[in-house]
Symmetry: C2
Subunit: 466 residues, 2 copies
Amino acid sequence: MIQYDMFPLIKDILAMEPPGNNLVIRGWVRTKRDMKNLVFVEVNDGSCFNSIQCTFDGIPVPPDLSTGSAVEISGSLVFSPAQGQAVEIAAASIKVIGDAPAEEKNGIPPYPLQKKRHSLEFLREMPQLRGRTNTLAAVMRVRSRLSYAVHRFFQERGYHYLHTPVITGNDAEGAGSMFRVTTLNPSLADPGKNDYSKDFFGRETFLTVSGQLEAEAYAAALSRVYTFGPTFRAENSNTARHLAEFWMIEPETAFFRLPENMALAEDFLKYCFKTVLDECAEDMAFFDERIEKGLIGVIKSVAESAFVHITYTDAIKELEKVQNTKTFEYKPSWGCDLQSEHERFLTEELFMGPVIVTDYPKEIKAFYMKQNDDGKTVRAMDVLVPRLGEIIGGSEREENLERLEKRMTESGMNTERYSWYLDLRRYGSFPHSGFGLGFERLTQYVTGMANIRDVIPYPRAAGQLY
Amino acid sequence: MIQYDMFPLIKDILAMEPPGNNLVIRGWVRTKRDMKNLVFVEVNDGSCFNSIQCTFDGIPVPPDLSTGSAVEISGSLVFSPAQGQAVEIAAASIKVIGDAPAEEKNGIPPYPLQKKRHSLEFLREMPQLRGRTNTLAAVMRVRSRLSYAVHRFFQERGYHYLHTPVITGNDAEGAGSMFRVTTLNPSLADPGKNDYSKDFFGRETFLTVSGQLEAEAYAAALSRVYTFGPTFRAENSNTARHLAEFWMIEPETAFFRLPENMALAEDFLKYCFKTVLDECAEDMAFFDERIEKGLIGVIKSVAESAFVHITYTDAIKELEKVQNTKTFEYKPSWGCDLQSEHERFLTEELFMGPVIVTDYPKEIKAFYMKQNDDGKTVRAMDVLVPRLGEIIGGSEREENLERLEKRMTESGMNTERYSWYLDLRRYGSFPHSGFGLGFERLTQYVTGMANIRDVIPYPRAAGQLY
C-alpha cells in the first residue's frame, strides 16, 4: 500500500530541520523571481500561511512559469542563506502539472488572480478561486480550526453533538422569514389553492431557523447536547452582517439555570479565542497586520477578562445616566431592545470588557424563555463583547407547562402544532438553559473581516448565489 | 461565579471512588422498587448507558414517584452491597422536579414510555421522547462520538473542515431528485410560466445533493479539505435504507491519486471503528447483546484487516466463476453495476473482509471521475464491508479540461452552468481524489440498527415529518 505520508504538506516541510533530502513539494506558484543564475519560485499549498521558497541554481525553469500554476518540485531542504525565511528548497527539478496562463490562451481568459492585490468585492465574484488568496485561505483555516474548537470544547465537557433537522414543519418562532422546501412544481400549482398534502412530506415544510426546540428534547434525554448546523433566513437584507444561510451553534443543558449557562458561555468564548491564538498564530498575525490593527490584543483581552454581569434594568439605568453626554441615535428606555450603540457603550466604554446582560423584558424576547416572578422580565442573557456588541444570546427555558402555554398563546402561536414541544413540560419537566451563536459572526470576530460574506466559502444572500 | 463543575453528570459520579459525600444526582427515574424498609430508585441522565442506583433506607420517597419523573436526589456515594453495580447512592433526600404521571392527569395522557419494552416503530412516532430510551440514547451517544472521530481524524491529518452550501444552483449531477428552495408563493404562481428571476436568489435553487464539486475548489486552495454536512434526496423511496435528509462526509485531497485515496479511506474507517470500540464500550456492548449479536467482533475484525484491492473487471471474473454455484438474482456481467448481492459475496464470502473495488466502467459512474487510458473505465473506488456492502464511494477526479468537458457534454450536462467548476481545470489543474460516505450508514454499521430512521434524531422521509 502506498502511504499518503509520502505526500508531506508544505506546513510539515517548513517544520523540518535541514538537511532533508529527496523531498517533493506540491502546490501552486505564488511568485517567480529571476536573479542572475538563480530563479526563486514561491510555492504555496494552503496548508499554512507561508509559502516555501524553492531556489533553482542553474536548474532550468520553464520560462513561461506563471502565478497559479500547479507544480511538483523535487529538491532538498536547506537553511536559507537569505533573509525572509529560515529554510528553503534547493531545487533539483520542476514539473508543471497544470498551468495558469497570464494571458488568454486557446480561448481561455487569463488567470484572474495575478500577483497584484485584489479587492474582496472582486474576489467574491469567484468563490471557486478566491480560496487561493492569502486572506481567504487564512479565513478558511481559522474557520476550520474554530469549528474543531467548538467540538472539542463541548465533547470534553460531556456534551453530545446533535444533528437537528434542516427541513422543518415548525414556523419561524418569530425569528424571521423562512424558505419553503417543496417538490411541488410551482408552475403546475393551482392558483389560490395549493394542496400541501400532495407535497413531499404531506404538509408545508421550510428550512429551519434554529435547532433549539429539537435540542431541548434531547437535553431531556442526554442532559447535555449541542447543535452545530446550518440555519436559514429568507430576509431581504443585503448587508455586510447578514447571510441567508449560516451556521449556528446551540448548546442546551439539563439542570443548568442562568448562572451556569452564563459561566458556560464565558468559558466557551474564552476557549475559542485561546484556540485560534494558539493554533492559528500565523494567520492571526496576518489579520492583525493587514485586516484589523490591534485585533490580537482585543481577542486576548476578552479571553483573559472576567465577564461582567448586569441586569437589563440596571443597564438601562446606566445608559440613561449618560444619555445627556452621549449622543445615542436611539434613546434608551426600559422596554425597548438594546441597540447596537447601547451594547457597544456598555462593553467598550462603561465596562471596557465583555458583559452579560440578563433579565430582559419578556415582550422583546422569545416565548420559550423562563419568566421571572416579577411578571415583567425573563431569564434571558445576551453576551456583549467590545468591537461587536452581542455575540451570544441565550436563556433559561420556561419549564412550567401552564406559563409556557399561556405565553405561546399570547404570542399568537399554534399550541397544537407545538404539542410535541409541550410534552417536554408534561413529562419529567426539568430546569434547563441554553444559548445560540452565529458561527460566521464568531469567525468575523476573531479574523476582523468586515463583511460576513468573506468568512463562509460560498455566501448566500438575497439575489446572490455565486 | 457559580461553576458548572458543581453539576456532575452520572457518568462522572459512577467513575468516582467511594466514599463521596454531599453529592446531588439529577436525572430521570427509570425504575422504582420497594423492598421491606428499602426503596431503590434507578436514575439515568443519558450521560452514559448505566443508571445510578439510589437506595433510600428509611428515607421517605413520594409514594407516586413514577418512571420518567425528573428528580434531584442528594446523598453519598458508597460501595454497593448488592450485585449489579459497584457503587450506589445512599440517599438522604429526594425532590421531584417534574413528574411524569403513569395515568391520565389534568387531561394529560399518561407518560408513554412506561417500563415495558417499546417497539422502534412505536418510538419513531415520538422523536421528542424516544431519546429517553436505552436504545436511542445509546445510538445518539455513539453518533456524537463518531462525529467527533470524523473531525479528529481529518484535523489531525492536515485537513480543513469546509462548510459547503446547502442551497445550490447546481443540478443533481445525476444523483437523484432535488428539493426546490423558494420564497415564491406557489399559490400566486402563474401557471405555466414561473419567473424564477423573481425568486429569492434571482434564479432556481435547490437543496444540495453533495458538496464535492465545491470542495474540489477549496482542495485547489488548501490542499486538504473535508465536508461534513446535510445533503438531500427528494426520492419517494420509503425504505429502511433511505432518508430525504442525511449527513455526508466528503474529503477531497490535492495531489492524491487513487492509491493514496484508498489508503485514506481504509485508515479513516479503521479510526472510526476503533474510536467507537474504545470510547463507547458500554453502548457497543449493549448493541452487541441486544441489537445484533456478534457486532463487536465484525467491527473489530474490519478494523484489524488489510483491505483487499481488486479491479471491477477482476471482480466480475470472480463473480462469473461462481455464478453456476451461487444463485444471484442479477447475473453479473461486465458493464453492469455491482448489486448488493455481488458486493456481499465479494466481501463476505470470497475475501471474508473489507474489499476495495476499483476502475469501474465509465458509463455507470459520475462524470467527474478520471478516465483511464483504456477509454472504458474510470479511476473509481467502492469500499465494501461485510454485513453491508458499499460503505464508501470515491474516485480520482478528471483533471484534464478537454476530457472533462467532453464527458459532461456526453452526460447531457450544461457546461456553461459548470463553468466555475471547469475553472479548476483551466487554472492550475492538479491531480486530486476524494470520497464520500453517508454518515447515517456508518452509524448504522457500527450500531447494528436495522432502520436508518433510528440513527438520526429527527428522520425525514417521504410523507413523514415526525
